[in-house]
Point group: C2
Chain length 198, copies 2
């Protein structure tokens, strides 16, 4: 029951944050949207920062599922592209977080720390995945670690900012935009492919 109230608060907050931007939404707005008293909301979450952190916990849980390698399966480019598509879907669902990233991180050092350790381990995983593709003969060897790291950074720029780039340009982030983002991802990999894509 209490758990369910907490989830309903997060769902309502997410809708309002996505629509109006987190900076323009107060806990009173969220309570009003739920027909709940501010005191009742406060019982579950003491302030907006706690709500944002709880939503970020949902994002990291969704990422963990999205990026889990299938048991016993070898990584493939197709798998990597499904992961990219999954990431775009997560970003679209929680778009306020990616749009307002700097503001949210600057407002809450605990959130910033959690975001950064999550990103650091994600970047490390990406580099390992690229190295696994090289070891598996899918990608050509890189001339240097710097070249491999740069490819990883470019993939991250697409993954982290394609939604913000497109929607700050005024385009609604729909399936066609996601497909274009996946195509960009593929363009980055293409020069490095050996031609063995299994």
């Amino acid at each position: 029951m209490s758990q369910s109230a907490r989830e309903r608060i997060l769902d309502a907050a997410l809708d309002l944050f996505n629509r109006d931007g987190a900076a323009n939404v107060t806990t009173n707005h969220i309570a009003a949207a739920l027909g709940m008293s501010p005191g009742n909301l406060y019982y579950h979450y003491r302030n907006k920062a706690e709500i944002v952190r709880a939503l970020f916990a949902r994002i990291t849980a969704a990422w963990a599922t999205n990026y889990a390698l299938p048991a016993g399966g070898a990584p493939s480019i197709a798998l990597m592209e499904r992961m990219v598509a999954g990431n775009f879907a997560i970003q679209a669902q929680y778009r306020f977080f990616f749009r307002d990233l700097t503001l949210l991180l600057n407002a809450d050092s605990e959130l910033a720390s959690s975001y950064r350790s999550n990103r650091d381990s994600g970047i490390a995983n990406t580099r390992q995945l690229i190295a696994a593709f090289v070891a598996g003969g899918i990608l050509r060897p890189f001339a240097s670690d710097a070249e491999l790291y740069d490819l990883s950074d470019l993939l991250w720029l697409v993954g982290d900012f394609w939604l913000v780039f497109r929607d700050s340009g005024g385009a609604p982030f729909d399936d066609a935009e996601m497909a274009r983002g996946i195509r960009l991802f593929h363009r980055l990999l293409t020069p490095h492919l050996t031609g063995h894509t299994s």
Copy 2:
């Protein structure tokens, strides 16, 4: 005299916006930083949105200078890289704008419209520049317009979001970070170079 007060207001606002984020700075904060009465500031700028628009006008003026092709000179990859470096320097100077982009655009439809028409023409210019490099034998011909447009979008992702990517990761955006961004730019172009770089 009046012009100079307007410029001093913009300088003070820029410092505060870069330090605290535009959402956390009021016109009263800006007036206080200048030892100016709120009424006096209001005489020059009616609200924060007008100040942000005036700062964006400075950004577009800086971009116009940065991206001007030298009279009679042919475009070169080195010139393009100097333009990227110049863009990073402009972003570093006005970093609040790029960090808080979505929030600022959603708060002011006039600013959003001006930002978008500026970006649209910038993207069109980038595509033309790439096409000029192909015509000049510096880049290999593209298999399709889509491939050329995708390269242009990737270059824009680096140009627009490298600073935000790095500083949301907690790294101060210094000269070394700018040099890494320029290197990413070069990585994107490398697979397309013919080897004739003049």
